[in-house]
C-alpha cells in the first residue's frame, strides 16, 4: 500500500502518461467533441472527428505495443496484453463507426450524442483492459454499460428500442450491483481492492478463505458473466442483440466481450483464483452450460442477429475453458490463447456484422428494419460475391474450420485443455462444435443457394442498378480488407502469435 509521505514519488509521471496515451487521447477527444457540438452541429464533422480520434488512438496504441509493462498509479497497469486487446477494441470501434454512418444519415436530425456515446464506450473499454484495481474495474464497467444502454435504445422509431434498452438497463444495473456486493465481500476478507496478488494469496495460504469470500467471488464473477453473456446469465443477449441497431450489436459482440474477458482474466490471474477448487467448479459448470445451451438454442433461430447472440454465448463458453485449465506454469500461454481466440472471434464477428449492416442498408423495405432473417442471405454469394465471401469466412472462423483464425483459436484452447487433461471439457467442446455446425453450415448453404429473385436481379442489372448493391467505396475497401485479413491471418497465424507473445 502506498502511503502519503512528503517525499513520495509523483502520482503520475511522464512514462505513466505515455503508457495510457491512447486512453488519454480518447478522453481528450471526448471533451473536444463536446466543444465541437457547441460550435457546430454537423453530422459529417462529428463523424470525421470521432474517427480521427479513434484512429490517432489506434496509432498511438500500436506504436506503444513494444513498451514494457507500466504500473500507472494503483488503478491501472498497462502491459502488452492490454495493449493488444485495446487495439482490437479500437479497430472494432472504427468499423462500427463507419457502419453506423449510413443508418444515421437517414435522419434529418444530427446525431452527435451517438458519436459521443461511442467514444465513451471505447474509453470505458480502455479503462477496463488496463485496470489493476477493483475501483477502476467498476469505473470502466459502468462507463461501458451506461453508454451501451444509450446506444442500444438509440433508435426511438424502432419498435424494439424501448424493450431492448430497458432489458439491458435493468439487467445491467442488477449485474453491477451484484458485482459491487461481491467486491465488497472480497474486500472485507482481504482488505485490499487492488488485483495485487500478495494479500489474497497470503491470506489464502494462512487460513483458507471462508464462505464469505467464496460468496463474494461468485457474485463478482456473475456480474462479469452477465456482460460476457455466459449461461445462466445470458437471458438478455438474444433480445438485446436483435433489438439494437446492427453497428451497436457489433460493438456488443466485440468490444464489450473483449474488454470484459480481458479484465476477468487479469483479475483471476493476479488474484490466483484459479487455485480454488470451488471456483473452478463454478466456471466449469458455466462453461459447459454455455457451450451446450448456446449452440442448441441457436439451432432453430430464423433471425440472424438472434442466432449470432446464441452463438456468442457458446463461444464465451469455449473461451472459459482457457481460464479453467490454466496453471501457474502456463500463465503466458493462457494469455496467448485467450487473446488469440478473442482476436479471431472479433475478426469473425466484425466480418459478419459488416455484411449484415450492408445487407440492411440495401433492404429498402424499411429504413430501420432491425430484423435480418436467414432468408435474406439466400444466394448472397451469387448476388454480391465479395459479401458472400466475407460472410463465409466469418462463419467458417466461428465454426473453427481450418484456413481461418477461428481454427487456430480452437487449436489453442484444445492445446490448453489437453495439457491440463481436462477431457470432459474437451468432450463437451467437441459435441458443442458438432451441434454448432448444424446451424453454421445451413447458413453457408443459404449463401450459396440460388438467389430467390434471380429475375429481379436480372432486371436490376438491365436497369443499371447494380451499383446500388455495391455500396460506398470505403465500405468496399472494408469488405475486401477484411477478406484479406481473414485469409492471411488464417493461413499465417504466426503474425498474430508474435504480436501476442511480445
Amino acid at each position: 500500500m502506498m502511503s502519503i509521505t512528503s517525499n513520495s514519488p509523483p502520482l503520475l509521471t511522464m512514462t505513466m502518461a505515455g503508457a495510457i496515451l491512447p486512453q488519454l487521447i480518447i478522453a481528450f477527444g471526448i471533451t473536444l467533441a463536446l466543444l465541437l457540438v457547441a460550435w457546430k452541429r454537423s453530422q459529417r464533422t462529428i463523424a470525421v472527428f470521432s474517427s480521427l480520434i479513434l484512429f490517432t488512438a489506434l496509432i498511438a496504441n500500436v506504436s506503444l505495443l513494444a513498451m514494457p509493462t507500466t504500473q500507472v498509479t494503483q488503478l491501472l497497469k498497462v502491459d502488452g496484453y492490454s495493449r493488444f486487446a485495446f487495439s482490437l477494441i479500437l479497430i472494432s470501434a472504427l468499423v462500427a463507426l463507419r457502419m453506423s454512418h449510413s443508418f444515421l444519415k437517414a435522419h434529418i436530425e444530427v446525431h452527435d450524442e451517438y458519436y459521443l456515446l461511442l467514444l465513451l464506450l471505447v474509453l470505458g473499454a480502455g479503462v477496463l483492459v488496463t485496470s489493476d484495481h477493483f475501483a477502476s474495474l467498476f469505473l470502466g464497467f459502468e462507463l461501458l454499460s451506461l453508454s451501451l444502454v444509450g446506444l442500444v435504445g438509440y433508435h426511438r422509431e424502432s419498435h424494439y428500442s424501448v424493450e431492448s434498452a430497458f432489458k439491458y438497463l435493468v439487467l445491467s444495473a442488477t449485474a453491477s450491483s451484484f458485482m459491487l456486493l461481491g467486491i465488497a465481500f472480497i474486500y472485507s476478507v482481504t482488505g485490499d481492492m487492488s488485483f495485487n496478488a500478495t494479500t489474497a494469496s497470503a491470506i489464502y495460504h494462512q487460513q483458507g478463505l471462508g464462505m464469505f469470500f467464496q460468496l463474494g467471488l461468485l457474485l463478482f464473477v456473475s456480474g462479469i458473466a452477465f456482460k460476457l453473456s455466459i449461461a445462466p446469465f445470458h437471458f438478455w443477449t438474444p433480445d438485446v442483440y436483435q433489438g439494437a441497431p446492427t453497428p451497436i450489436t457489433m460493438l456488443m459482440a466485440t468490444i464489450s466481450k473483449v474488454a470484459m474477458f480481458v479484465v476477468l482474466l487479469k483479475c483471476i490471474i493476479a488474484q490466483r483464483y484459479w487455485l480454488h477448487d470451488s471456483f473452478q467448479l463454478f466456471l466449469m459448470s458455466f462453461a459447459v452450460i454455455s457451450m451446450l445451451l448456446g449452440n442448441v438454442m441457436a439451432l432453430k433461430q430464423q433471425h440472424l442477429k438472434r442466432l449470432l447472440a446464441y452463438s456468442s454465448i457458446a463461444h464465451m463458453g469455449y473461451l472459459l475453458i482457457v481460464i479453467i485449465v490454466s496453471s501457474a506454469q502456463s500463465l503466458a500461454f493462457t494469455w496467448q490463447s485467450a487473446l488469440f481466440y478473442l482476436a479471431a472471434y472479433t475478426l469473425a464477428n466484425l466480418s459478419i456484422f459488416i455484411v449484415i449492416a450492408l445487407i440492411q442498408q440495401q433492404n429498402t423495405r424499411a429504413a430501420f428494419q432491425e430484423d435480418i432473417l436467414l432468408a435474406d442471405l439466400q444466394g448472397l454469394f451469387w448476388r454480391v460475391p465479395s459479401y458472400g465471401l466475407l460472410m463465409l469466412l466469418g462463419l467458417l472462423s466461428l465454426a473453427g474450420i481450418p484456413l481461418t483464425m477461428g481454427f487456430i483459436g480452437k487449436f489453442y484452447i484444445l492445446s490448453q485443455a489437453t495439457i491440463a487433461h481436462a477431457w470432459w471439457l474437451i468432450a463437451t467442446l467437441i459435441v458443442a462444435s458438432g451441434i454448432s455446425l448444424a446451424y453454421y453450415l445451413p447458413m453457408i448453404f443459404k449463401i450459396f443457394a440460388d438467389a430467390p429473385s434471380d429475375t429481379l436481379s436480372d432486371t436490376q442489372k438491365i436497369n443499371g442498378n447494380v451499383k446500388a448493391l455495391r455500396g460506398h467505396i470505403i465500405e468496399q475497401v472494408l469488405v475486401y480488407s477484411f477478406i484479406a485479413f481473414g485469409l492471411v491471418f488464417g493461413i499465417l497465424p504466426e503474425v498474430i502469435n508474435q504480436l501476442i507473445a511480445s
Binding site: I401, P402, I430, V431, G434, L437, A438, E494
Partner: protein
C-alpha cells in the same frame, strides 16, 4: 518444392477457370482438363526424375521440403512422398481427369465455381497424401472437405443440403477427435524430449506407453473409420454418394474413402503398432460386419447410386480387415483393393451419372432392358459389375484374394466369414445389372458417346491391366 507448386497451381488454375467462365462460356472445363493433364504429367516427370537422380525407389518416405510455418507450436510445412502416396496420388490424377470428363455436360449452372471447387478438392487430397506434419495433415484434411461439401451442397440432387450437412458433421466431429489426439501426442513429445513437435518422423521415434497410446490410437482410428467408412460410422456415406453430382460421387468413392485407409496405414498402424495390435480383434470384427452389412444393404437398394454406395462400405471393409491382419500379403492385398475399388466404384458411379442424364432417374424400377438400345453401355456395365464382385482377371479379384489369403494366415475365422461377402457382392452385382440392362425394355436410350467411351474405356483398361498383370502394383513393397 515441385509438389507444393503443383498444389498451388491447382488452386490458381481453379481460380482462373472460375474467372474465365464468366468471359467465355465453356472455357472452365477445358482449362480444368488441360491443367489437370499438364500437372499430372509434371508430377509423373518429377517422381521419375527424382527416382533416377537420387537412385531411390521411394520405399521409405522421402522428405521433400520442410519449412517453418507456425513457430509458436513448432509446426512446419513438411511434405514427403513414398510408394503408397505416389500410387494414391496417381489414382487421384486419373480420377480427377475422369471427374472433369463426367461433368462435361452435367454441370449447367455456376460452372466456373464448380471447377474451382473440384480443383481445390484435388489439391487438398494431394496435400493429405504428402503431408508429414500432423498439423499440416489436419489442415489438408479439412481443405479437401470444404470444397467437397460445397460440391455436394450446390450441385447435388434433391436432398443435397441434408446430405452435405451429414457428411460434414460426421467428418468434422470425428476429425476433432483426431485433432485432440494430434495435440496430445504433440505434447507427449514435449514431455518426453522437451520439444513440442508435430513432425511425423519425430513421432515415429516416440515410445508411448500402451495405457496412453490406446486412447490416442482411438482418436485417429475413429476419424479414419468415419472416412473409410466402417460400420457403425457409415451412415453419412449412402446419403452423400446418392445426393452428390456424378463427379462428386466418383471423387468420394474413388479417392476420399482412400484417405481413410491411407490414414489407417500411415498413422494408426505405424504410430501406434502396439495399441493397434491390441485393438485388431475389434477392428477386424467391425470390418467383417461392414463387409456383410454393406453387401446385405446393397442388395436391398432400389437406387442405383445408393446400391453402389453400400457396396463401397462392403469393399472398404476388406481393406480394413486386411490392414488389421498385420501380414504383408494382406497388406499388399489391401493396397490393390484400394486402387481397384477406386477404379471400379468410380466407373459404376460414372455409369450411374450417364444413365441419370438419359432418363433423369436413379431408380432401378425405372430402368430395364437398356441392353437393347445401348449394348456398348451394357457391356461396360457388365464388366464393371463383374469387377465389383471380384471376377478373376479384373483388379478387384487380385485385391480381395490377396487380402483373404493374408488374413487367413492370421485370423482364419474372420477370413471365412468375410469370404461370404463375395457371394453377397455377386448377388447385388447381378441385381444391379439385371434390373438395369436386362428384362423388357422400358425405354430407349442413346448409347455411349465418344467422351463416355473414353471414360469407361480407360477405367476398364486400368482394371484389366492390374487384374492381368498384378505385378504392376505388387512389385512395390509399400514400406511393409
Amino acid at each position: 518444392m515441385t509438389v507444393t507448386l503443383i498444389m498451388l497451381a491447382l488452386v490458381i488454375a481453379g481460380a482462373l477457370a472460375w474467372r474465365a467462365e464468366t468471359y467465355w462460356q465453356g472455357s472452365a472445363k477445358w482449362l480444368a482438363l488441360i491443367s489437370l493433364a499438364l500437372l499430372a504429367t509434371v508430377f509423373a516427370v518429377f517422381v521419375i526424375d527424382y527416382a533416377i537422380n537420387h537412385n531411390n525407389d521411394f520405399a521409405q518416405l522421402q522428405v521433400l521440403s520442410r519449412v517453418n510455418w507456425i513457430q509458436t507450436f513448432n509446426i512446419q510445412y513438411s511434405i514427403a512422398l513414398d510408394q503408397l502416396s505416389i500410387v494414391l496420388i496417381a489414382l487421384t490424377w486419373l480420377l480427377a481427369i475422369i471427374c472433369v470428363l463426367v461433368s462435361w455436360h452435367e454441370i449447367k449452372h455456376h460452372v466456373g465455381f464448380y471447377y474451382f471447387n473440384l480443383l481445390l478438392t484435388i489439391a487438398g487430397i494431394i496435400g493429405v497424401f504428402v503431408a508429414v506434419d500432423m498439423f499440416l495433415f489436419f489442415f489438408f484434411w479439412e481443405v479437401m472437405l470444404l470444397p467437397m461439401t460445397a460440391i455436394i451442397a450446390i450441385w447435388g440432387h434433391e436432398k443435397r443440403h441434408f446430405a452435405a450437412l451429414k457428411f460434414f458433421i460426421f467428418t468434422q466431429v470425428s476429425s476433432l477427435l483426431m485433432l485432440v489426439a494430434i495435440i496430445a501426442t504433440g505434447y507427449f513429445h514435449l514431455l518426453q524430449t522437451g520439444q513440442l513437435s508435430f513432425y511425423y518422423l519425430d513421432w515415429l521415434m516416440l515410445d508411448i506407453p500402451l495405457s496412453m497410446s490406446q486412447y490416442l490410437m482411438l482418436g485417429f482410428f475413429i476419424a479414419f473409420a468415419v472416412k473409410l467408412p466402417s460400420v457403425p460410422l457409415h451412415s453419412w456415406l449412402p446419403d452423400a454418394h446418392t445426393q452428390a453430382p456424378t463427379a462428386g460421387s466418383v471423387l468420394l468413392a474413388g479417392v476420399l474413402l482412400k484417405t481413410g485407409a491411407y490414414g489407417l496405414i500411415r498413422f494408426v498402424i505405424s504410430l501406434f503398432p502396439q495399441a493397434s495390435t491390441q485393438f485388431a480383434p475389434i477392428a477386424a470384427t467391425l470390418a467383417v460386419v461392414s463387409i456383410l452389412y454393406g453387401a446385405k444393404m446393397a442388395f436391398a437398394q432400389q437406387d442405383f447410386k445408393r446400391l453402389v454406395a453400400y457396396s463401397s462400405i462392403s469393399h472398404m471393409g476388406f481393406v480394413m480387415l486386411a490392414l488389421f491382419a498385420f501380414n504383408s500379403v494382406a497388406y499388399q492385398g489391401a493396397i490393390v483393393t484400394m486402387v481397384a475399388h477406386g477404379l471400379s466404384s468410380a466407373a459404376l458411379f460414372a455409369l450411374a451419372g450417364m444413365i441419370y442424364q438419359r432418363i433423369n432417374s436413379r431408380d432401378l424400377a425405372d430402368m430395364g432392358g437398356f441392353w437393347q438400345s445401348a449394348p456398348r453401355m451394357g457391356g461396360f456395365a457388365l464388366a464393371f459389375a463383374g469387377a465389383a464382385f471380384g471376377l478373376p482377371g479384373l483388379a478387384n479379384f487380385i485385391g480381395e484374394f490377396f487380402s483373404l489369403v493374408g488374413v487367413f494366415q492370421v485370423l482364419p475365422e474372420f477370413a471365412v466369414i468375410a469370404a461370404l461377402g463375395l457371394i453377397g457382392s455377386a448377388i447385388y452385382g447381378m441385381v444391379l445389372f439385371q434390373s438395369s440392362f436386362q428384362g423388357t425394355p422400358r425405354q430407349d436410350i442413346i448409347d455411349l458417346q465418344p467422351r463416355e467411351l473414353i471414360i469407361c474405356g480407360s477405367l476398364l483398361l486400368m482394371l484389366l491391366a492390374i487384374g492381368l498383370y498384378p505385378r504392376l502394383l505388387l512389385k512395390f513393397s509399400f514400406g511393409a
